[in-house]
Symmetry: C2
Subunit: 656 residues, 2 copies
């Protein structure tokens, strides 16, 4: 097979993610979820946004926009960022329509967009809170009041809806909103040298630039990123200007990543979602402008985050207070905050890093977050959600304020602060865009799912058709279809979890020992239709150990198979899960699929458990060593936990 070679991945010219409208997902794992988003989740969430879900926290989000549009009367209700829930819902609708027509949903979205458009003010301003409640305070507290955050989400929605339907009404709203902001913020005389307290608009403006071709949106995004953290500090000036009585008191600028200019930041700090959105915007600007200083800053932050501050589930942000990062290796399992939105943000950032730098570290992390800490946020039926995704849950302790206030033992139908549910909907609906990428010489396969990607390379259209039972089986077949034979590369990620991958092209084995250090195999040859790449990533049940500086996990083991992290649940293993230990030499086997867990295979084996009998009548503390009994153990995918009633859950199992 002289025309195949395994080579280094190409340099740092940015790759283009294959957009959603060029990817078709037909996958046993993902397609039901995509269908569920359109058929069930988005209608359900629409009901929640309109306060029609019994027992759910009230939203009022759409009603606020109706009032601002003059269609309703009454008071604003909810958080200052309530509009963003509607924006993310519209964006999710767009991705869903992009993948699968749904005239009813589209008609509903059109009606929503009509209201949004009429809620926009003549000068382009759009934020129902300030329009209804405090019009005089517009733009007076960009640090705390989320106007730019809401704008960013509305811009993303406008771009996505335009790309899905060709309809530009919401895109026009987005443009006028961006123009309004562009006129007010920037370095020119009469403009405010500011930037948002909650980042988001940066990445949104890059999308707006992409579909409109208008450079000023890219410039404004870059301005927000370049200006952030510079002296004199905008948030201080702004607080003084508005006569904030707290202006003299210290504000922890690291909370909003504005403590330093972004290029000087080396440690992931502050509110985890804000951080992910900022770093995503930084990566976007690095890709759009070729700014290597921004790439280096992103790389440093990435290494800090993924080597020191990330849970095995891809959950990030361990502290409830500030929904924030704390410090290196501080990853408690039972009080972990690990907001669903933060794991989603990590997917966004990882995906953008892959554009800058082909390294499986990004794709592995994207996959880790996606299949674990993101999907754990939503129930299998799509109708209940975790805001917080700890790695150990004891339902009785969840009521304990002071340290467990934020931990819920069961998913909720909605939240007062409902950022996560529509964020999940838009991520799942847009799953297809994370699979493939391309540049002028290479097609990239980042993720594995049965799907087809339609690429443009060398002046022709090329299709890769992927067939796999991932994430439950590591066999992947990729069929190549070209208009005419052509030479280019296909770069395939060898997952970091897989130690003994093998691959063939048309049945001929590739020398995978030459996989480059970045974890991608680039197969360069003249491709013809009918060529087939077959990959085998054997999925063994792996015992995974944490960096021992994560003190919570020392002496413990997690079970993983492929990209899926497993956990123990009380419903399978009885109460007091921490009393279970797994001997190092215990045999673990795969058990057939469980319908109540979305047909996921489970892991079973024999473990040991401390005998709890005979303690009631004696001292709690005694010199007699505990007695261990053999017990059967059953582990289920972490993302599927909590779908069978309330109970304990545990990821990190004692070993020994």
């Amino acid at each position: 097979m002289s025309d195949s070679r395994v080579s280094q991945s190409p340099g740092r010219s940015p790759r283009r993610a294959l957009p959603l409208n060029r990817v078709t997902v037909r996958d046993a794992f993902w397609s039901p979820r995509l269908t569920q988003v359109g058929d069930s989740i988005l209608p359900y969430q629409w009901d929640a946004l309109n306060d029609r879900v019994p027992g759910a926290a009230p939203s009022h989000a759409f009603e606020n926009l109706r009032i601002a549009a003059g269609d309703g009367t009454g008071a604003f209700h909810g958080y200052v960022f309530q509009d963003s829930d509607v924006a993310k819902w519209l964006e999710a609708v767009a991705y869903s329509l992009n993948q699968r027509p749904n005239p009813e949903l589209e008609a509903l979205a059109d009606r929503v967009i009509d209201v949004v458009a009429r809620a926009q003010q003549p000068d382009g301003y759009l934020d129902s809170y300030f329009t209804i409640k405090e019009p005089a305070k517009r733009w007076s507290n960009v640090r705390d009041w989320h106007e730019m955050y809401c704008a960013g989400h509305m811009i993303e929605a406008g771009v996505a809806y335009y790309e899905a339907t060709g309809k530009d009404r919401l895109l026009d709203v987005a443009r006028r909103l961006a123009d309004h902001i562009d006129s007010r913020f920037g370095p020119q005389p009469g403009q405010r040298r500011g930037y948002p307290g909650h980042e988001e608009i940066e990445l949104a403006l890059v999308k707006l630039h992409r579909v409109t071709g208008e450079d000023r949106y890219l410039r404004l995004s870059k301005y927000f990123i370049d200006e952030r953290g510079s002296e004199p500090q905008f948030f201080d000036l702004e607080a003084q200007e508005r006569g904030d009585p707290a202006a003299g008191r210290p504000y922890d600028k690291s909370y909003s990543q504005s403590h330093l200019p972004v290029r000087q930041q080396t440690v992931a700090v502050g509110h985890a979602v804000r951080a992910m959105y900022l770093y995503s915007g930084m990566a976007d600007i690095a890709a759009a402008t070729g700014d290597s200083t921004l790439f280096r800053a992103c790389r440093g932050l990435w290494e800090n985050l993924t080597h020191r501050q990330m849970y095995i589930t891809g959950g990030i942000g361990s502290a409830e207070q500030g929904e924030a990062f704390t410090f290196d290796y501080d990853l408690p399992n039972d009080t972990a905050y690990t907001e669903t939105c933060a794991a989603i943000g990590l997917v966004f950032w990882a995906h953008r890093m892959l554009r800058l730098d082909v390294d499986r570290d990004y794709a592995d992390t994207m996959e880790r977050a996606l299949y674990n800490g993101v999907l754990s946020g939503i129930s299998l039926d799509g109708r209940s959600y975790f805001y917080v995704n700890p790695l150990e849950v004891w339902p009785e302790a969840c009521g304990r304020r002071g340290d467990h206030r934020h931990v819920e033992p069961t998913r909720k139908p909605w939240f007062g602060c409902a950022c996560c549910p529509p964020n999940l909907a838009r991520l799942i609906a847009s799953f297809g865009q994370y699979i493939y990428a391309e540049d002028d010489e290479t097609l990239y396969v980042h993720l594995y799912a049965s799907s087809a990607g339609r690429f443009e390379i060398g002046g022709q259209s090329v299709t890769l058709s992927q067939a796999t039972d991932y994430p439950w089986d590591g066999a992947v077949a990729i069929d190549v279809a070209v208009e005419r034979p052509a030479s280019f590369g296909i770069a395939i990620r060898v997952p970091g979890w897989c130690a003994d991958a093998s691959a063939t092209v048309n049945g001929i084995r590739l020398a995978l020992e030459r996989v480059n250090r970045n974890g991608y195999v680039r197969i360069a040859r003249e491709w013809r239709s009918g060529d087939r790449i077959e990959l085998e990533f054997p999925m063994t049940i792996q015992r995974v150990y944490a960096d021992p500086r994560v003190r919570e996990d020392v002496g413990r083991v997690a079970l993983q198979r492929g990209p899926i992290v497993y956990c123990l649940e009380e419903v399978d293993n009885g109460p007091n899960l921490p009393s279970i230990s797994l001997p190092r030499d215990a045999t673990l086997t795969l058990e057939g699929c469980d319908a109540s867990l979305g047909n996921a295979p489970c892991i079973v084996g024999t473990a040991r458990r401390v005998d709890e009998s005979g303690y009631d009548s004696v001292s709690m503390y005694r010199p007699k060593p505990p007695i261990f009994d053999d017990v059967s153990l059953r582990a289920v995918p972490y993302f599927a936990w909590g779908n069978r009633g309330a109970g304990e859950m545990l990821v990190w199992i004692r070993e020994g």
Copy 2:
């Protein structure tokens, strides 16, 4: 030795604790501490109460009383219960004077008492907060405003100062204050059917009854206990009466143990200090009245507390929120609240239970709390204090709000809420009263410390002189001195931690295998001067295991020797203490006394530690099992931790 026999301990006629003025402590462990209280701690605390300690949280406590007495001007500062700090300080002075004359300290206390007496109002009311700040609100919120709590402490001080010095000025203040309260609260028409939100006065009134002989104080105490939790709920009525806007909202009555009548309570709930003071009062009333229903309630609460909700250190109340108990077996080590005052309260309660029921369970627990969770609250130099006594500390995490806000890595010179420091002073100064008890037939030895107790039995004075190096050595010699030969019993506690005790009387071995199930050996014979009891409680280094329902401690071991619980400190063992594991077969030996730890012996041995090298450049999570290195381990007494700078601390060590 036909005249010696080991018999059941006597029945439930209450024993009398041997009061402080009949006990002389001359002990290598305790005497330096008693001296330190008089010479250093009480003067230091006086400075703190007068805001003369640089860097300490302000108190203003004495100044408030001066203002109320007309000696000063200005505003009240501090908590509504600020007076109680002065009251406890006076009580501690009294105990110290009782043990050891100190004319200077006595003169100071007399001056303080003069101010307190003049701060008392003509009607007997005494509380500087309401006198200075809100006189119209006296007695309008007994639930929250601590007037009875402050009164209780002032009554205790008055009794103690009278017993130590014979001076009755503060006792008169206490009587007038108690009379004032007695006139206002009770079942008679015109009285309020109330009881305090923060219990304390119940046990104080029993003391006042003891020294004055006035039955009405005992009746009032019993009334508070009997009335507590009855319907209609006083705290609800009171809230309605004062027009509290929160009156309609639920108040968690379990916080103040008023959710049920006390005789129906079976689980220790709510604010841990309040609970201990209530249960102490219940035991006092049970002893004073022979009320077996109260004893049974105490016993049920005791079993719940000590078998399900107590740390190995005797620390209790695991939750920061409400400084409270949570639920059975919920004993996190790193976020433990375990207030010093709660462990002190447990000593009070255990001591009172011993009056009702001779069972070493009480004395063992009293000893456990005293030598571990109480003494940990004070530095070896007596000048800094822990309010919170966790069993695992990671200084970096102490700043983490949301779950570690309350945990301090180092003791503080004082607190805004400074209940613990003077509580420590009064407990240490009164240590002698916990050692011995007597009834009409038996002398009891509950604790071991070199000391002499002067008993009255059979119409003569009997002295037991105890010599020991406890808690570091388990050999105890007790010499008996009688005026004339007499038959009575001497009941000696065999500590629960000791599995192979031996004893002789005049060199003749006792059959200790016949120790009764309550853990006391009663030696009945005709005692003559010169008789000597020798006890040997071999102190081995013990590995102690927790009830496995305490999930935080499963797979872990604590080290204990005699009554002393040990811990690891970073200064001896390096950082990341949780990465250390102790093989079950590791040899542990005692190391000579360490002057920097108050001459405590340490425990040393060889343990294992996860090798932390080689993780920085790889994924945080990987299938490679960790490598263990042999390391030397050094454990120090828990009470002495944190005396050598800030650093990590850990009680429960992974085993294996």
